[in-house]
């Protein structure tokens, strides 16, 4: 960055000192997640070899679940205890409700939400027919506005997060597997650039906290790898559901930066890129974090 030439040589002794404290990528909790759900136990992969595109950067990827404390982790082991499950039920009610301009429901065209099994694991993705980068929210919005004669739901509304929760649950236990090549490549590259850019007055990139220093404590927070396989997340602190992009807003704001807006081209690209860092982890359905 600044003053490269000045610092490098002269401060060799200082840098050696600092090297002693170099990030250790310490201690995700050693634990395994099997979720007791309505249809029996589902095994969740919370640790996997890093995908190829992270070779030389990370060896192993971990779900954020592995960085939470005992109490928070316990809440996700059984749907009965998971406070996010009520929103799945609410999403199901919405799914079946005749809300369309002509009384259509999601169900009248799609049948049950099981129709979307696997979709959560591969989004964001570039839609084959339109060539547009689509998040799950974009798909839902397209049906609302183009097929049901409705206004868009606010991107961070409870209607939207309830529906995200319902659809995400259909892929619980499936491995995240978003495409990064072909038509996705330019979006992925853009997301990657954002991930490594040091924004705001604190000059911090996603990578500083979630790649360089994951496993460390930043005050009371145990830094995870900032993976999105758990989204939507029930956040105890907010007592509500959070979409990935809503989480991004908070993380960028905390660097004293101007955030990007949910559904901005920047955050969509970032969501694709961050998802790809989690290729191989399981979709958790609705996770619990604090």
């Amino acid at each position: 960055m600044q003053c490269k030439s000045k610092t490098a040589a002269v401060l060799a002794p200082v840098l050696t000192l600092a090297a002693l404290a170099l990030p250790g990528h310490a201690n995700p909790v050693d634990d395994q997640l099997v979720i007791e759900g309505e249809n029996g136990p589902v095994e969740i992969v919370t640790e996997a070899p890093a995908p190829d595109h992270l070779k030389g950067v990370l060896e192993t990827i971990y779900s954020g679940w592995r960085f939470r404390n005992d109490e928070t982790r316990a809440l996700e082991r059984d749907d009965f205890d998971n406070p996010g499950m009520v929103f799945v039920d609410r999403g199901r009610d919405k799914w079946n409700a005749p809300i369309g301009a002509k009384g259509e429901s999601c169900a009248s065209c799609h049948g049950g939400p099981e129709a979307f099994k696997g979709l959560r694991a591969v989004t964001p993705r570039v839609d084959e027919k339109t060539g547009a980068l689509m998040t799950m929210e974009n798909y839902i919005d397209a049906c609302l506005t183009q097929r049901m004669g409705l206004e868009s739901w606010n991107w961070t509304s409870t209607d939207m997060s309830d529906m995200l929760a319902l659809i995400s649950m259909q892929s619980r236990g499936m491995a995240v597997n978003v495409a990064i090549d072909g038509p996705a490549a330019p979006y992925w590259e853009k997301g990657k650039e954002i991930y490594y850019t040091r924004y705001g007055q604190l000059e911090m990139a996603c990578a500083n906290c979630h790649e360089q220093y994951f496993g460390h404590m930043i005050r009371a927070d145990h830094l995870s790898q900032g993976q999105t396989n758990g989204f939507p997340v029930y956040r105890l602190k907010d007592a509500g559901l959070l979409s990935a992009q809503k989480r991004f807003v908070g993380c960028v704001r905390d660097t004293r930066a101007e955030t990007f807006k949910p559904n901005s081209p920047e955050f969509k690209a970032l969501e694709l890129y961050v998802a790809s860092r989690g290729n191989g982890l399981s979709v958790e359905g609705v996770s619990v974090r604090h």
Binding site: K6, V10, V14, L17, L20, G200, E203, N208, R253, E258
Partner: protein, 157 residues
């Protein structure tokens, strides 16, 4: 660059009266990362320094550093090295430089630059997430830097 010009302005301002004797962020002279002269021309207050170091929206040093001399601080972070004994490892000038803008000492450091006003990417208005126009007020004032320094100077082995 415009460095010399800014300096000249700062010197002229400084000459104008005691209230302006502060060294402005853009006029701070880093020598191998160190800053020899007090930013205020006065010694800082170590007690006020502790306040700055433990307040979230100010220095928040404890988010990343353990300070054993401050045992009442809950949940100190472990991102950077413990500051215990820092004053035995570094001179006053080096510490002033590290606190003002550590990136002159540790290239690319994760530690924020506390006495800097521009050159940011998408700077925000504090923690609102809204845009702000540079130059921003530095995160810490000259007096707050000197206060923090005064406390860190007490951290000897």
């Amino acid at each position: 660059m415009t460095r010399r010009l800014t300096l000249a302005v700062a010197v002229a301002l400084a000459a104008a009266g005691p209230a302006l004797s502060e060294t402005l962020p853009e006029a701070v002279q880093f020598e191998r990362g160190a800053v020899a002269a007090s930013l205020t021309g006065m010694p800082g207050d170590p007690e006020a320094g502790v306040k700055v170091m433990t307040t979230n929206a100010l220095g928040n040093c404890v988010a990343c550093h353990l300070v054993s001399a401050l045992p009442d601080v809950p949940f100190p972070g472990d991102i950077g090295p413990a500051l215990d004994g820092a004053a035995s490892r570094y001179s006053e000038a080096q510490l002033r430089g590290i606190i003002a803008n550590s990136k002159h000492t540790f290239e690319g450091s994760f530690m924020p630059a506390f006495y800097k006003t521009e050159g940011y990417i998408r700077p925000g208005n504090a923690y609102t997430g809204k845009a702000a126009t540079e130059p921003l007020p530095p995160i810490l004032t000259a007096a707050q830097i000197e206060d923090v320094l005064a406390f860190v100077l007490t951290l000897k082995d």
